[in-house]
Symmetry: C2
Subunit: 203 residues, 2 copies
């Protein structure tokens, strides 16, 4: 589509790099930004600009943070002896939303995936081993592996288990099974099969 | 959802003001912007910022432009005696894409809509009358009304027709009918009915 202005074309091109946004949506965004009061558009530009300057990553758990140590790692209310290993920041947010977990996190920043060129060195694995070895920020009793149940996630879990076992820490993983409210007849066979094998005492 | 960083929360809040973008998509956008190289994120912020500073509107046709007079109004190749009246900039782009129209445009910036508080004074109607009266940029022989066939669009067309008629200009409107490739049985009754009334000679 021929655009009547290079400035608009430039904005559309950059907006269409957002995930799931095509040229048409990008044009809709750009025309909306043109129509609304200029200071709201400037606020958006500024908030995006600040993502590159004001965001830090916690030096302990590698989660996004406004400070060098994130609020979770620096909170005296959290149980610092439990570390939950997750793939990314979204997983931290999902678990935090449940309000069921009071321990700390460790964000790997991905999972081992040779096909995507992601190896052990690209992930925050060394710092996890260090945390357990040296007790950063406190001695660690338990590591919960909460990685995805894909081939890559499982590979990463196996690798972490192998590395952490000699350190004498308890290693657990989150329960998998039929989601609460789901019907058995619509559940996939692997999940249903495992949920029977890993059954737990009724109350 | 609780976000681990105020900078991130701020970006998500502003991104979610884009049309059709909710909190979840905005978060996906923001995390994508964090993950990609910082200079690409800065380019996006800059291109949005420039929408507020570098965009002009053509003083003749009110279309978006990088200059005071848009490339269409200043082109010697266009037929300056025909003016096509459209609701907004997207309509100009849609007609330009057909490569079937060689005249000029006039962007109203909306249609008369009392329910949305849009009256005659809010639209570029006076400047259209002036263009026809004074021949800006050249004498106008024909005005094509290409407004939507909604109640608001029709009201605007009727009003413009009433204003332009005394000026002795030819007033036309775009053909409405069954879209090329469409089946008659699935066409709506009003369109099909009008397409029979407004039938044209076969070749």
């Amino acid at each position: 589509m021929e655009l009547p202005s290079n400035t608009l074309a430039n904005a559309v091109e950059h907006l269409s790099t957002l995930p799931g946004v095509g040229k048409r949506s990008a044009l809709r965004f750009a025309l909306h930004l043109l129509k609304q009061p200029a200071d709201e558009t400037l606020h958006l530009a500024d908030s995006i600009h600040r993502l590159t300057t004001d965001i830090h990553y916690c030096h302990i758990c590698h989660c996004l943070s406004d400070t060098d140590t994130c609020p979770i790692c620096s909170s005296p209310k959290r149980n610092q002896s439990i570390v939950c290993v997750v793939e990314n920041v979204q997983d931290v947010m999902a678990i935090e939303n449940t309000q069921q977990y009071q321990g700390l996190y460790h964000v790997l920043g991905g999972v081992i995936s040779p096909i995507d060129g992601i190896g052990i060195r690209d992930l925050n694995i060394d710092s996890l081993i260090q945390r357990v070895q040296q007790g950063i920020p406190s001695p660690v009793d338990e590591v919960i592996l909460a990685l995805p149940t894909t081939m890559e996630g499982d590979t990463t879990s196996f690798y972490l288990n192998k590395q952490l076992l000699p350190l004498g820490v308890r290693i657990t993983t989150i329960a998998r099974g039929i989601a609460i409210g789901d019907n058995l007849e619509y559940a996939d066979e692997i999940t249903l099969g495992r949920s029977i094998i890993n059954r737990i005492p009724f109350a």
